[in-house]
């Protein structure tokens, strides 16, 4: 353990790193050891992809505190650029995903640079506008998106479908690592500072404009790659699904259910979302959006840190005390202060406080 720890970055706990590797190896080996039916195999593949997308949404929503209701725009751009590239060029599929992601990142910067100077609800409202405007443009730009009838990709071979599982797993692993880097490094500290108080962040030399732009571009790239992956996985995409408001909301839901601003939370949120979606859509096709709404209200009312808040409560029951700052998540960070609590201590006296 100690030798492993020596080449890890200082912010990474060796136990977390070991757990991460164990889970990855287990998931990698799963389809080799057990015969998975195609449905389960597909659900797992989608889950990996959504975990990546949810983490990327969380960089903006959780780390910087800018809740986006418009991430479907990048998901769709990534998806359609990838699809067009795969149809009309000989580019290998992973290159098409990357190009799709990069275009989505640039698109994010295009609308994000002006709107990110808004904060809180004002930014959220602007992103709804961006998402809907993008959806409309995409729906009417039928030469590119195929309009409301969408576009089809060649049906992939069974082997390719199998391989997508591992590609999604690698993608998710990379995004998890990037999430930890963004959260734990000096940059992460700057992002939390912006979330807590933009003016104070500027006073200490954190450029809110620069870091918010960087985070949005990274987030857009990952969500765009997810969109491209989604296109490859389903071999058929259409604008109202890719760019729809439900798509944006789904990312918000994953973040909120799991616990905004936390890494494990966003990942768990994506898992729960996929499970809920599969079961609710099958059983209550008319009601499921309403049920999501209720779920959202319940989480925000009773456990603003979502599943990770519940986990932390559980951990406290068995005597684990998380260090300060671990829970710097929540909407606006307010939940965390409350959860960790602590009354002001007595005032220091003159003698104690002076050298």
């Amino acid at each position: 353990m100690r030798r492993l720890a020596s080449w890890l970055p200082e912010w990474a706990s060796p136990w977390a790193a070991a757990g991460f590797v164990v889970v990855l190896v287990a998931l990698y080996a799963l389809p080799l050891v057990v015969v998975l039916d195609p449905y389960t195999h597909g659900i797992l593949t989608q889950t990996f992809m959504f975990v990546a997308a949810a983490l990327a949404w969380n960089w903006l929503g959780g780390y910087v505190g800018q809740i986006s209701f418009g991430h479907a725009a990048m998901f769709g751009v990534g998806g359609f650029v990838t699809a067009r590239l795969l149809l009309s060029t000989d580019l290998p599929f992973f290159a098409a995903w990357v190009v799709g992601g990069l275009v989505a990142g640039v698109y994010g910067l295009l609308w994000g640079h002006p709107t990110l100077r808004l904060r809180g609800p004002y930014f959220a409202i602007a992103t709804i506008g961006v998402g809907e405007a993008t959806r409309l443009v995409a729906t009417f730009w039928s030469s590119f998106t195929g309009g409301s009838s969408g576009i089809s990709l060649p049906i992939p071979s069974g082997d390719f479908k199998q391989a997508l599982y591992w590609y999604a797993l690698y993608f998710m692993a990379a995004v998890v690592l990037l999430s930890y880097y963004l959260r734990k490094s000096r940059i992460g500290l700057g992002l939390l500072a912006i979330k807590g108080d933009v003016d104070a962040a500027g006073d200490v030399g954190v450029s809110a404009t620069f870091y918010q732009d960087v985070v949005l571009v990274l987030s857009g790239i990952v969500v765009g790659i997810s969109g491209g992956f989604y296109a490859s996985f389903f071999s058929f995409i259409e604008p109202s699904d890719m760019f729809g408001f439900e798509r944006s909301i789904s990312l918000v839901l994953m973040g909120v259910i799991g616990g905004i601003g936390t890494i494990l939370g966003a990942a768990l949120g994506a898992v729960v979302y996929v499970i809920l979606q599969e079961n609710l859509i099958a059983s209550y096709p008319d009601l499921y959006l309403g049920l999501y709404g209720l779920l959202l209200v319940a989480v925000i009312l009773f456990e603003p840190l979502g599943l990770s808040g519940l986990l932390m409560r559980g951990a406290r029951l068995v005597g684990y005390r998380p260090g300060a700052g671990v829970a710097a998540g929540g909407i606006g960070g307010a939940a965390a202060t409350e959860a960790t609590g602590g009354a002001p201590e007595e005032e220091p006296t003159l003698e104690e406080a002076r050298p």
Binding site: R186, L189, G190, L192, A193, G196, D197, D199, A200, A201, G202, D203, V204, G205, V206, S207, A208, T209, G323, A324, G325, A327, A328, G330, G333, A334, A336, T337, T340, G341, G342, A343, P344, E345, E346, E347, P348, T349, L350, E352, A353, R354, P355
Partner: protein, 235 residues
């Protein structure tokens, strides 16, 4: 070092500062004193870059700051200890301090600066891993001062550092100001309501009233001034 030249600052249509000029020379402690709503905080916010003046100029070491964004001003050596501390309550004391050294110039010396701040305020070392929101008022003020020092500033601006503190802590805050000036050689712009304490710590003072400088001069003279004594000190 800092020259504020005839600035006018507005909040929407409401004018807060009317042609204010002020100068802080290298190595000086200058205080800007006045009552509530006189425009003291607004002046500091203009220097820090949070609120842009509509006209006039602000120069730091001869160069105009008006086109420089706030985070760049921190990089140039201007630090603000804001009114009400403005710490990040959900982050630990150490994280708050480290954020103070976010800029390029201060980044490489985080550990060294942390050591200096902790030896100035040993209380912060004990509290390093606590959430800043759980500190008492006096400790929060130390943390805010420490955060400003982490950026290795040359001009340190205090916005009402004595606000809401017990008398013993007020005394301590002013002692810290004197220490930073005398022993660390920092240039200080101190904004205060506590006129007597501020003038006792400063070389020169400006008295601000409804957005205009009313009187200025060496602190000793201002403390003797009859009108100031009757208007602000009640003697």
């Amino acid at each position: 070092m800092l020259e504020i030249d005839d600035i006018e600052v507005y909040y929407g249509d409401a004018q807060a500062i009317f042609g204010l000029s002020l100068e802080v020379g290298e190595g000086e402690v200058v205080t800007l004193v006045g009552s509530n709503g006189a425009g003291k905080t607004t002046t500091l916010r203009a220097v820090a870059g949070i609120r842009a003046p509509r006209s006039g100029d602000i120069r730091f070491e001869g160069e105009s700051l008006l086109k420089i964004p706030p985070h760049e001003r921190a990089e140039r050596g201007i630090a603000l200890v804001p009114e009400g501390r403005e710490l990040w309550p959900q982050m630990s004391v150490r994280e708050n301090l480290e954020l103070g050294a976010f800029g390029k110039r201060a980044r490489g010396r985080v550990e060294e600066s942390l050591g200096q701040v902790m030896s100035l305020f040993p209380r912060l070392e004990e509290r390093a891993d606590q959430l800043a929101g759980s500190l008492s008022g006096g400790e929060q003020q130390m943390c805010a001062i420490g955060r400003a020092l982490m950026s290795k500033p040359r001009l340190l601006m205090f916005d009402e550092p004595s606000l809401g503190l017990a008398p013993i802590l007020v005394r301590q805050v002013f002692e810290t100001v004197r220490h930073l000036h005398a022993d660390e050689g920092l240039t200080i712009l101190l904004v205060e309501q506590n006129l007597r304490k501020a003038l006792e710590s400063a070389d020169r003072g400006y008295v601000i009233e409804t957005g205009r400088i009313k009187t200025e001069g060496p602190s000793k003279e201002l403390l003797q001034d009859e009108t100031i004594r009757s208007a602000y000190l009640g003697i």
